[in-house]
Amino acid sequence: MDVNLILNDHFVLVQRKSQMSLHQLPKKEGKQWTIKVGRDLVDLSSALGKPHGTFKLSRNEENKSKAFSLVPSNDVVEMKEKLKDLNSGENNKEIWDDGKSQQLKKEDIEELRGQGLTGSEIVTQLVENSKTFQIKTEFSQEKYLSKKEEKYSEWVEILKPNIRHLAKYFHSQDPMQILNLRPDTLAMIMSLANIKSNGKFGVFDGGCQGLVTAAILDRIQGFGTVWNLCLKGISQKRVIQAMNFSPEQLKPLKNANLHKVKESLKKEENGDGDEVPAAKIIKLDEDAPQPLELGSLDGLVVLCRRPNAIAKELVKLLAPSGNFVIFCPYSEPLCETYTDFRECNLAVNLKLTEAWFRLHQVLPLRTHPEVNMSGSGGYILSGIKVVS
């Protein structure tokens, strides 16, 4: 089922230490494809046809200044292992950081790079030219080396994109490009909307690049239906594309233009002169030949900056006892929506929440929470639709 080879036209994530980037391989075979990894040029096409995994940046022997090739390799040697025989100090008492301890200048380092030195060769140079490295404590040395490794490591991971990676990647790049929907908040949305195979779900994505839709498609693996509810313009799909979904995995995805849904509704209404019934069947446009009914969805996810008006309408698509989740990067619009839903008795178990998330460094004698954390991952209003 899973495609585990790096193939043309597919997306891959390239990771060096904590740095990640997303790339699409060229559509045509045989084309060279050079990307930047940090400050290094890497020929990504050299990994084509190989399984995803760890690769070593390797120099083309003939021309050292050209881009690195990728060679599969599991023998990752961390710099701290390479340099572990060096002396270290007992404490940092003698160290006075006057900014002059490193004798190599920026230009020197650039020149070493130009000469085609590998990352670990450059770091070795940096260590040898540091006046204070050998009197630093072992922990300080390790910290220094792992900082340098971020820039110079010779190993990269070529990852097959999955939701976990993509959610983290898009949030770390520019949170607002996905409305600041943080991975842990995405996880909550999947639970609170009761996403499961063989269900019918609706997603109104007002700016999350298809992240939630992709997460649902991945979760249900072809079983069920996901309606992409939209009003106008191009639908959000960048994350869906990056998932390299097979046609079977994409099968559940249907587009529903809400204006067209409404038009069909009106025609039906005019036809029999009645009020819109709660579970009327509506025919849709070519994109979505299957019918989308009011009161038919098992779960609904609304993601946008100002859900107030639209969320209340979309809940009409939900079956009684169906679960909805409304996500917003701001609390104020959800506050209004909360009051509105409560006054209209639209739902029970209404909850307005915010998640708090923090990573920890767990290392012998150096365990502590990460010093950088996200201050906000968006707000969620969730509930269960009822008929009063």
Partner: protein
């Protein structure tokens, strides 16, 4: 039969949720008769805060609609793992939705995943795992406590989930899981998770997978991380997730909180008359004064594809 597939009306045997208010919800199984303490079978009448409910009368009722009690009413809700988590009978400390959600997503669970869970506890996480991996996946769940296994097995059957799960009594640390090259993901909630890591490795697919351990104390997490490094796990990450709930309140401050004072205005009597009450009204988002400050540390790691595996 009610967890596995969404239905619109209640059938006999279903477990349903009766929702009265956020503090009063009940999970009940729709059966005409119930055993008394003495073992006699009598009519199944459930007592809510607002009076009695004849359970058998729920058959045919539509989910999401009102149900009548003798002195009030509530809503009849379709069960979900989240509602089950809130209403199950605690046999142990349980995992709650924020941690459960992270576990399911960070373990890359999806329809078709094969998962190992130890211990089962009260089955709170198990229900969410089964939802994520059905209809083609399978959960192997283990607990060293025989009674817990018996109860949860009955619940899985009552909930129509028995085809997606196998529950067994087993001391995972001592005896492992009796599974080899099988699991896409392993979840450990044990006092000494590091003792089960080598068993987890055996159970995980040679083509790779994910592991998660949950521990309340940092010392357990430290030992686990060391064991994961030693065994060759990659991408080891430890995280904490807390949830903050807000109340939305329309606040109208009492007169005494209205400080309509100005040094420069010549008469503040006048200004006090003007739209005074409006100035004391606003809508506020109030964080809960008390919240859960800790559940446990979640550690995730990747079991890499073994070199023996051919693509």
């Amino acid at each position: 039969m009610s967890f596995a597939k969404t239905k619109h009306a209640v059938e006999e045997g279903d477990t349903v949720i009766i929702y009265v208010n956020p503090q009063a919800m009940y999970a009940i199984q729709v059966k005409p008769l119930i055993a008394t303490k003495k073992g006699d079978m009598v009519e199944n009448i459930f007592q809510t805060a607002y009076g009695a409910l004849k359970v058998q009368e729920l058959v045919g009722k539509k989910f999401g609609h009102k149900v009548q009690f003798s002195r009030g009413w509530g809503y009849l809700l379709h069960p979900t793992p989240e509602l089950w988590t809130l209403n199950l009978l605690h046999r142990t400390q349980i995992l709650y939705t924020p941690d459960i959600s992270l576990i399911v997503m960070q373990l890359d669970l999806k329809a078709g995943s094969i998962v190992v869970e130890s211990g089962t506890g009260s089955g709170s996480l198990s229900h969410a795992i089964i939802r994520a991996i059905a209809p083609t996946g399978h959960l192997h769940t283990f607990d060293f406590h025989q009674q817990r296994v018996e109860i949860v097995t009955k619940e899985f059957i009552d909930h129509g989930l028995e085809t997606f799960v196998t529950a067994k009594q087993r001391d995972a640390c001592k005896d492992g899981f009796d599974l080899e090259d099988t699991a896409d993901a392993v979840f450990l909630d044990l006092p000494n998770p590091w003792l089960a890591i080598s068993h987890a490795v055996k159970a995980l697919k040679n083509s790779g997978g994910r592991i998660c351990t949950f521990s309340p104390c940092i010392e357990q997490t430290q030992k686990t991380c060391e064991a994961l490094v030693a065994k060759g796990f990659k991408c080891i990450e430890t995280m904490e997730c807390l949830q903050r709930e807000f109340q939305v309140k329309n606040i109208t401050l009492p007169d005494v909180d209205d400080y309509n004072f100005s040094f420069s205005q010549t008469t503040d009597k006048d200004s006090e008359g003007n739209g005074k009450k409006e100035g004391r009204k606003f809508r506020a988002l109030l964080p809960a004064l008390q919240m859960a400050g800790h559940t446990g540390y979640l550690t995730f790691a990747t079991w890499p594809r073994q070199s023996s595996v051919q693509i």
